[in-house]
Symmetry: C2
Subunit: 83 residues, 2 copies
Amino acid sequence: MACLCHQKMRYTDLLKEINGISGKVLSRELKDLEMNQLITRTVQNTKPITVEYEITEYGATLRQVTDVIADWGIEHRKRIIGG
Amino acid sequence: MACLCHQKMRYTDLLKEINGISGKVLSRELKDLEMNQLITRTVQNTKPITVEYEITEYGATLRQVTDVIADWGIEHRKRIIGG
């Protein structure tokens, strides 16, 4: 979700971007996100076919949650590591 | 953390409360939370010895994060399941 917050991405780009994730896990997660109306999946009529994922307006409401988590995490890091 | 938000708890109570968690995983998670200053571990001089875990004041700051996640989740459930 964090990747898609900024722009549309293709499956292969997501696979490269998310370190260590397997294709099987990525496919399952994307299907789950789509089922939960957080992203859309668009098949582009290119040769070869490409599939693009994009965050939905509803999906963007998750931003408030990820921001609170990230803010808390940054403060926590400073406290624990003294960064 | 959610369990400890409300009261002190002993290891055995936590093990019963958190469905499906193994003793090994619970011990590791508690050690990690203690290292991150989110909980304290107190050995009670009872027979047999009991170990109590309690959320710290700093740990309570996580409440704002878990509340935002929980609120978003409740709304999401309504939207998806139509609850």
